[in-house]
């Protein structure tokens, strides 16, 4: 028994050196070669960081495309979903009020056009994407607020749509932050 205890202690120490020092530090060093230097890829505008490519942020003004509802207000230091169940009355009330908001700010929009992702909170509260349908229903509003043609906005959406992997696997999605910055740069 005593032998096992001593062996356990020594083995644990050796493995800590291998697994907690050598392994993670080598990966961190290799990460320096990646696009964001291993610290997350930033997006800058006029030399200032305005966000991370992977992290969604809150957009509420009419001239911007809106992202998905977030249970934590896009808090990138405290990610969370709503954890509300499908039959929860509070959840259904939230969804109803989001539908009403969308209908109010997007005149001409039919309820039956609203995709579920625009009225439900994302898993992380930081979802950077919306569905193509979610972007489509906002085109008229954004075009009007920016006083540009709907055709132009549609093109911008198409340019910022990520197609399925190799065109075969998974859903397509629109990165809201990149799309909005592209519109600002017009």
């Amino acid at each position: 028994m005593k032998k096992y205890i001593i062996q356990s202690i020594r083995l644990t120490l050796v493995l800590i050196v291998l697994l907690c020092i050598i392994y993670p530090i080598s990966i961190a060093l290799a990460g320096k070669l990646s696009k964001g230097n291993g610290g997350g890829e930033k997006i800058t505008k006029n030399g200032k960081t305005v966000g991370y490519e992977l992290l969604g942020q809150s957009f509420t003004k009419p001239e911007y495309f809106w992202g998905r509802p977030s249970a934590v207000g896009y808090n990138a230091a405290g990610s969370a979903g709503s954890n509300k169940g499908p039959s929860n009355p509070d959840h259904l009330k939230d969804v109803q009020s989001r539908i009403d908001t969308l209908l109010k700010y997007n005149p001409g929009l039919e309820k039956s056009q609203i995709p579920a992702d625009m009225v439900t909170a994302s898993g992380s509260g930081l979802d950077p994407n919306i569905s193509e349908e979610g972007a489509a229903i906002q085109i008229a509003r954004v075009a009007k607020a920016r006083k540009i043609s709907e055709q132009k906005v549609k093109e911008m959406v198409a340019m910022n749509t990520l197609k399925p992997l190799f065109g075969l696997f998974g859903p397509s999605s629109v990165n809201v932050l990149k799309l909005n910055l592209a519109l600002d740069n017009l």
């Binding site: 929860n88 995709p115 992380s124």
Partner: protein
């Protein structure tokens, strides 16, 4: 065809393409045969030498378990103190506080047991030191513990009669050097180059396009996310686990993480067959497990793609499926696939919030964890399945009126008693645990704990009951996922789930290893016309029936009170 479905099919096929050769490779590694990774031998010899281990020393099954339990107890003590004092230790750039003793108790058991149930949030509850020197460290070694225990079982059936079952330390170290570490390096690099942070920089701050000030939690996440999947641990770096865009940046990384968590459990099944020179047995087991996977997966995909009936009533479009708690870049189909594999295998990482999935999906998730042997966790999945096998052998033996045998060894009263205890343990802990929690919730709503019992549940009605049932089931299965709406960071849940995780981990390791050790030591009976062959379709069906009947009898009432009741109210 729908690209979401092709994505899942491709993921599953790629999993098999990697897992099957990996299984053959593992059989060779643990048998000590020549493999291409033998260049790592000097590293292993160095580790043995520094640790004072002589791998030539043979152990019987009791010594194996002693070594296993000794080192696990050591990790419990070590981790507990680091968690409590993390605020006073270095590498804490965000200034996170030390853990309360009950939270540290829960967390350390959870990580030693390969469960990774988390009652803290990664961004605010732990320091960089704890993430790496305790949590990530345990993700490696707990997975290796499970694999090594399974290899002890392999050893018992390789030769006709065996009492000396190899050296535990050797299996344990090789599981790290030949399997977990090399694969983790590859995977961590893939993640890093897809945008997952890997550096030690602390929190960042920026002003968003609309002028909000945003704080961003970062840190060495890629390293941990790799092993959390490969080792079927599941404890994420950030609070929302692999739903977080940093942990799982895009559909490709989602595929990688899905594949990573399944390959070792499948490989262990293949390795078992090749190791004991009964390949057909491995394929039979693999077949039963895979059928189990699909029986849970297909209805789950269909309920998630169908969307929430309550939202359909409001008149919105349901073409994107149920999206509450899900991420657009994965979509409902890949989220349902993930929810299935993460519950049948004991990973417990999530890429969508299970609390918000449809009621029938919740049923399949719970059932996957209750069965806990369709592939199952690293090494331990096979150990769980072995118990079902022994029960099936016993019942078949009774049906034909012969002394039951398994692989040429008589299965007698002692082995059956152990198997029966292990089988009864799960329903006992799950049902009693949920019952205690429900009792406290109903009668002691005002107890002065960090979260008062009356405030535990994030959802009213049947779904609230499901939240408690899920928490206890996940603990017992060493899964670690949760219906995260549950207010679980208080002394009641920390202690209850801590105890359940501990028993749910170590008894189901000790039991099968003991049975295998006892069986392996018995006289070998050559096959005759009356021998029950465990690698036939008939016996596979028998095992499947045993799994189904045992679990249906144990859990149907509980499932009926929770997710099933919610389902029927929702579609009314």
């Amino acid at each position: 065809m729908n690209t979401e479905l092709t994505g899942i099919i491709a993921t599953f096929l790629l999993t098999l393409i990697i897992a099957i050769p990996l299984g053959k490779y593992l059989a060779k590694v643990f048998a000590g045969e020549k493999v291409w990774t033998d260049f790592l031998k000097p590293l292993e010899n160095g580790i043995y030498k520094l640790s004072g281990i002589n791998v030539k020393e043979q152990m019987d099954w009791k010594q194996q378990l002693k070594a296993l339990l000794t080192i696990n107890v050591l990790w419990l003590v070590y981790g507990f103190f680091v968690l409590i004092f993390q605020d006073k230790l270095p590498f804490n750039p965000d200034g996170n506080p030390g853990m309360t003793p009950d939270l540290a108790f829960n967390t350390i058991i959870s990580f030693v047991a390969n469960c990774n149930l988390q009652h803290y949030s990664g961004e605010s509850g732990v320091s960089y030191l704890t993430q790496q020197y305790v949590l990530m460290f345990l993700q490696f070694v707990s997975a290796a513990t499970g694999i090594a225990a399974a290899v002890v079982l392999f050893k018992a059936f390789r030769d006709k009669t065996a009492t000396q079952l190899g050296n535990f330390w050797e299996f344990f170290v090789k599981a790290i050097t030949r399997l977990l570490l090399p694969l983790s390096i590859i995977m961590a690099l893939i993640l890093t180059f897809n945008g997952t942070p890997a550096s030690y920089e602390g929190k960042d701050q920026f002003i968003s396009v609309q002028g909000d000030t945003v704080n961003v939690s970062r840190g060495p996440a890629a390293q941990m996310i790799a092993i959390k999947h490969l080792g079927t641990n599941g404890g994420g770096y950030f609070g929302v686990n692999s739903a977080h865009p940093f942990e799982n940046p895009n559909y490709f990384t989602n595929m990688v993480e899905l594949i990573a968590q399944v390959i070792i459990p499948i490989a262990m099944v293949i390795a078992f067959g090749y190791f004991i020179r009964r390949k057909k047995l491995a394929w039979t087991i693999f077949g039963v497990m895979t059928i189990g996977l699909f029986l849970l997966l297909i209805p789950m995909i269909s309920s998630e793609l169908g969307g929430n009936p309550a939202l359909a009533k409001m008149g919105i479009s349901q073409t994107t499926g149920a999206m509450e708690g899900k991420e657009v870049r994965f979509g409902p189909a890949a989220s349902a696939y993930w929810a299935t594999v993460t519950t049948i295998i004991s990973t417990g990482s999530v890429n969508s919030m299970h609390d918000s999935t449809m009621p029938m999906s919740g049923t399949w998730q719970l059932l996957g964890m209750m069965i806990n042997a369709f592939y199952g966790g690293c090494g331990v999945g096979l150990l769980n399945y072995f118990i079902y096998l022994i029960i099936a052998v016993f019942i078949s033996g009774l049906m034909v009126g012969r002394t039951p045998e398994f692989l040429g060894h008589k299965v007698e009263a002692r082995e059956i008693k152990i198997a029966a205890i292990i089988t009864l343990l799960s329903p006992f802990m799950i049902l009693a645990g949920t019952a205690i929690a429900s009792y406290v919730f109903t009668n002691y709503g005002d107890a002065a704990w960090a979260v008062q019992p009356k405030a535990w549940l994030n959802n009213p009605g049947f779904h609230g009951f499901s939240e408690m049932l899920y928490e206890v089931t996940s603990s017992n299965a060493n899964n670690g996922s949760g219906f995260e709406g549950l207010g679980d960071n208080n002394v009641f849940w920390n202690v209850l789930t801590g105890v359940i995780i501990f028993l749910g981990r170590f008894l189901p390791i000790i039991g099968p290893v003991a049975i295998a050790g006892l069986l392996g030591a018995k006289k070998f009976i050559p096959e005759s016309a009356g021998t029950l062959k465990p690698d036939t379709k008939t016996f596979a069906l028998m095992t499947f029936a045993v799994i189904l009947v045992l679990n249906a009898l144990s859990y149907f009432p509980a499932l009926a009170l929770g997710p099933l009741a919610e389902y029927f109210t929702l579609i009314r």
